[in-house]
Symmetry: C3
């Protein structure tokens, strides 16, 4: 199994400070640790090849392997822990899969950081989508109904956060899904829609876009109230299967009794029980 | 499977601001999201029916179903995240069970919030029990020895907390219990008595009141020391099977050697090993 | 099964305040709760025997047993939650194993506390090793390549932390390992190298020293950046199998292309795939 990712880091000759590349989860010797004490950094104008190993689980030794949702980051700028490098954006996500893992149709990275930022942005800068004609990108999270969408959540900086997504939930497992028919196993894994994320933590989940909830604009935000109020919030835009976006529901009616028109439309096969029973 | 809960929210005509009902974990369309941008809120004097769906797990699609310990809350008062609504008490717990889940004899909700509050109260207001004759209620957590008691923990507001219960522990699983005889599964799930809880997080555990520890007054508190010191602490009062409460143990004796009189009385069947071996 | 640990606490007659011993995870009656309200504390000059029970899991009742990574601490000094006692060091780790649990070659306790301390120390005081000739101890974490090393992480005080170890990862399970050949179970448990730790939380992991990464000085630190920057960081020193420590890698070369010399040396049996494939 070859290394999952190889990065060649070459610094700008005019960059005034040394930088490094430290990764989580995969394997590497001291030469690729990306730390000051191990001399595994890159001086201004130099380059360095970091070598990472992806390894399968080895039950004989107890080695757990390297599959997971990880991140890599500078460990040198601003001090021996790379605090300024990370705050400046010198980081990224790294995904190592096991054979058989679900393959997503789309992957989005959401790094929860200081100053109430998602991917170093907040408020309208965190969601730059044209709502009716969204173009997928780091600040425009979009999918068609039923697509398999993978979110990688990264915690960085000084603060705790919680990752919350409206309308969607996932198993609190390695991938967000629990396979198999073992009832005891399936029943042991919580299903959640909100997860605490500390600096350095990473996790990934795979959801079906709009599953059981339909298309629309689904908030993705930190549930620390002062964080979301200050702009730590974006949207997951779920399109119709044909790529169009339905309009926002009409404003709340002024009648005394507003009939719900929710249909529970589901991209997945409909449950055996009829929908009609749900509307009362 | 019908919706787990249906709520009809009718605002006081004199209530000056719009409110909403946003829920976690179960399914709903944009019309029942309870957010500003989806127009799914309730203007003053109006009413609205929110429709939620409980769904079973669907292994074919990877949909994880909606069973879980959830909460619902306003998402509008004080801004688009409902910060003031939540702080004012516009929230509650929602439990969706799977078939076969343990059914508790009693359920208590403990919402850990800002200003070191449990259920928006602290210190003596969080535990209003008459210790010798407690009447169960939101601020009087009480059970008889051996009863199956379910705690739902909710994190809300701006702060992190940890949920700690004296004398009791639980499996860190979907329900607090791990069923089955699969040794590898059972051995993979941690047993804990303290769990970190961020805003928006919810979890539930089922314990046997006084199991292996007997009746008495068992602290339930946030283990952040300045939180518990400021009153984020209540009691779980466990009665004798006949409903009486034993008196507090005598004050610490002044002799040089205080013999323990602990008996490890257990509401459950006694373990095979004799108790006598434990007393030395 | 006898109690895992028995502690006889005798206070210094000149100690001016009462103290107590409260433990997590194992079982005890109100007489051994170590709290003020239960009179289970120790007045100055007195002694008290606290009795704890270790219990196996009881599937018939849902009792989860007491195996786990726990801590004990004072619950009286500085108020009814022992805040000053804990801050002064009146705490320790308690491990209760199940039959068949991995037995480590070495165990190290890392308590993450206030003022950015690990085991109440920070910066150079947290790692007092002679790097080339380290003597294992509470402030010198060292092992030979391939040894099974158990870390017990304890959160205490007022702050959140994250436990991060360079070069090593573990299954987020009860012991850090997932046994068995059940693919669905193995695939449900995340592998992580960074874990959030709140006050009162404890967990333990077992890793193989230097597995797949080789000997050297591997950072162990809180990943909250301002915590690590202020000294909440130590080292896990992994020696060669013969007990020697290789020198630090040479400083980053000044040539335009630094060839990596990483070898992925592994104390465990080499994977079937040859190493050569990894070096490109």
């Amino acid at each position: 199994m070859p290394a999952a990712t190889l990065e060649a880091l070459r610094t700008d000759p005019n960059h005034p400070v040394a930088v490094s590349l430290h990764t989580h989860g995969v394997k590497y010797t001291q030469q690729s640790d990306g730390t000051l004490h191990s001399n595994s950094y890159v001086a201004p104008g130099q380059s360095r090849t970091y070598v990472w190993f992806a390894k399968p689980r080895n039950p004989a030794t107890g080695s757990q392997g390297t599959a997971g949702y990880w991140w890599y980051h500078d460990h040198l700028v601003g001090g021996p822990h790379g605090t300024k490098g990370i705050a400046s954006g010198l980081f990224g996500a790294l995904i190592v899969r096991r054979q058989g893992d679900p393959r997503p149709d789309r992957t989005y990275v959401t790094a929860f950081g200081d100053r109430q930022t998602i991917n170093l942005r907040r408020s309208s800068e965190a969601d730059t989508c044209d709502e009716q004609n969204p173009v997928p990108g780091p600040t425009c999270l979009v999918a068609r109904l039923g697509e398999r969408v993978e979110f990688v959540a990264i915690g960085l900086g000084d603060d705790m956060h919680t990752f919350h997504l409206h309308g969607h939930s996932w198993a609190d497992s390695r991938t967000g899904v629990v396979d198999g028919t073992n009832r005891a196993l399936v029943d042991s894994v919580p299903v959640i829609d909100n997860k605490t994320l500390g600096p350095g933590d990473t996790f990934g989940v795979t959801v079906l876009a709009g599953d059981s909830v339909g298309p629309g604009h689904w908030m993705l935000h930190c549930h620390m109230q002062f964080h979301s109020d200050l702009g730590m919030s974006t949207m997951f835009h779920v399109l119709n299967p044909d790529g169009t976006m339905p309009p926002h529901p009409a404003a709340a009616p002024t009648g005394a009794k507003a009939a719900s028109t929710g249909t529970g439309a589901n991209a997945a096969p409909a449950p055996a029980a009829g929908h009609a029973n749900h509307h009362s």
